[in-house]
């Protein structure tokens, strides 16, 4: 283990968080719903790998459990559920967007800068090897939030919500080497249930309006 100096460890963690942010941008640029789900699964896999790496480098056991749960819940179960939902729908891609792809990408780039400037005063005080990831975690939360607002299909909004949750998980790992296990278990359960409920709700939306465009929900019906 002589090659695994703290410096290389930090770089590996940084690299993992960079990949998380990259998949975030890929989700923003992607129009096909099923590809978005795949990208979310990939992002969760990167998250689990980064978390496992942090667990290995710091010897914090309970992060391993959280990483394993991430693989089970976010890489396997939730993408399956979402794929099932998408199969029932009559749309395969996001056609009408409130903000088009290049503009969304630019706005997300600006969000990364904002996240960086907000966290910049805090980061030098941290001495954890994950401290650089805090800016990226905040950026992922902001991008997820922006995607939820700017997309109209319920499925994309759900994916954006899950992306936000990934950002929060990364933030918790970056700031404090993870939350207490009991809190993390609760969060995983919440996310799973939220995804299931949103899946059912999407199906209901499809039955009621013959579309999963959530803007229909703000129209008055007689």
């Amino acid at each position: 283990m002589t090659w695994l100096t703290p410096h290389i460890g930090t770089q590996l963690v940084d690299f993992g968080s960079a990949m998380l942010l990259l998949t975030c941008f890929a989700i923003v640029a992607q129009r096909r719903l099923s590809a978005c789900v795949d990208l979310f699964a990939l992002q969760s896999l990167f998250l689990a790998m980064t978390a496992a790496l942090v667990a290995f480098l710091t010897g914090t056991r309970h992060i391993y459990i959280a990483a394993a749960l991430t693989v089970v819940v976010k890489v396997i179960v939730i993408p399956r559920v979402l794929k099932g939902v998408i199969e029932r729908l009559n749309v395969t891609r996001e056609l009408v967007m409130k903000v088009n792809v290049p503009a969304s990408l630019l706005i997300c780039g600006a969000l990364v800068m904002i996240a960086f400037f907000i966290t910049q005063p805090i980061i030098p005080f941290g001495h954890l090897l994950t401290r650089d990831s805090l800016a990226i975690a905040l950026a992922i939360v902001l991008i997820g939030f922006f995607t939820m607002i700017s997309r109209q299909k319920a499925v994309t909004q759900l994916i954006a919500f899950l992306v936000m949750e990934n950002g929060l998980f990364l933030g918790a790992t970056a700031a404090t080497y993870g939350m207490p296990l009991i809190v993390e278990l609760g969060v995983f359960f919440d996310v799973l249930v939220a995804a299931l409920i949103a899946g059912i709700y999407t199906n209901r939306l499809q039955d009621a309006f013959d579309s999963v465009d959530t803007t229909h929900l703000s129209e008055l019906k007689e």
Partner: protein, 322 residues
């Protein structure tokens, strides 16, 4: 005396690198065509076919429309000269270019842009509608790739602490495989690869193998050219492709490049260079087979992604200080 010798050596190294770029480029174009043909279960022409094509074109009489101005006949020479000059600024097989003082990466970008600008003018010059369409499309692509390219290059320049290509490559080569900013470099690499594909008119953006008027960009601009003018333009676009591949290979993976001017280092550098560039050419050929050409209005999405990747590369340099 020693001073004289080093000047002679510098001139020899510069000339040798330029000659390698000019001489190898048709073979790289041929290699990409061969890879594509093999992947499509065709036999394909040999990789040295482009040399024969160029020789044939140089022998033929050029036909120039009477409606064209001097720009039309001057453009092939300007494009060829500006591309070769840009190539002089890129380290090919020795990391220290004697022309280092003459220009940095920004000069490199705008020398290539000068060629593109004149090609756009020449496309309009003959007054045909295809030329106009091609020029308009090329202008869109060029204006969108430029910021992405500049950003990607700045991301690398920040790590090396210099905008001089020689210094960047030399510093990275001396590190011997230790990458100081992996995330930042990876983003810049991805951005620069998309830029390469767009700038050299490769498949997701433009199709170099077709003369179908609906889809072509570069081919539409040069449709009016024939004879030696066409040969010069084709050769210049081959050199441009090779210059971009050289840039990617040497900036991101400068391993094996000659950091000193001993004969062994130089010959190893040349061998490694040919292998690296051939590998990249095979990659481009494979990508051309795997993807369909994008609709013109989706090209902006792809180039937007390239810009964002480059921007992230730049931001990661500051965010991930390690």
């Amino acid at each position: 005396m020693i001073k004289d010798q080093s000047i002679l050596q510098a001139i020899a190294i510069t000339l040798a690198q330029a000659i390698v770029l000019i001489a190898v480029s048709p073979a790289i174009v041929g290699l990409i065509r061969k890879v594509k043909a093999r992947l499509q279960c065709r036999q394909g022409a040999g990789i040295f076919q482009p040399y024969a094509d160029l020789r044939k074109l140089f022998r033929k009489q050029p036909v120039v429309s009477t409606t064209t101005s001097w720009i039309f006949t001057a453009t092939p020479y300007i494009v060829f000269a500006s591309t070769v000059t840009a190539g002089l600024l890129v380290p090919v097989f020795a990391s220290q270019m004697p022309l280092n003082f003459a220009g940095n990466i920004i000069a490199f970008v705008y020398l290539l842009a000068l060629g593109t600008f004149f090609l756009i003018l020449a496309g309009l010059d003959a007054g045909s509608s295809f030329g106009g369409t091609g020029s308009s499309r090329e202008a869109i692509v060029a204006s969108l790739t430029e910021p992405a390219m500049i950003m990607a290059i700045f991301a690398i320049a920040l790590t090396a602490g210099s905008t001089n290509l020689s210094t960047i490559v030399h510093k990275t080569a001396l590190l011997q495989g230790i990458v100081t900013d992996p995330s930042s470099h990876l983003m810049a690499l991805a951005a620069l690869f998309i830029v390469t594909i767009a700038e050299t008119g490769r498949v997701p953006v433009d199709n170099p193998a077709t003369h179908l008027e609906l889809t072509m960009i570069h081919e539409a601009m040069v449709l009016e050219y024939s004879g030696r003018y066409l040969a010069l333009i084709e050769w210049a676009s081959g050199i441009k492709l090779l210059v971009f591949l050289t840039l990617i290979a040497n900036v991101f993976a400068p391993w094996g490049i000659a950091t000193s001017l001993t004969p062994t280092a130089l010959s190893v550098g040349l061998g490694v260079y040919v292998v690296k560039v051939a590998g990249l050419a095979i990659l481009i050929g494979t990508i051309e087979c795997m993807f369909a050409k994008l609709r013109l209005f989706r090209v902006t999405d792809l180039l937007g992604v390239a810009f964002i990747l480059a921007l992230l590369g730049l931001l990661f340099f500051y965010i991930l200080r390690g």
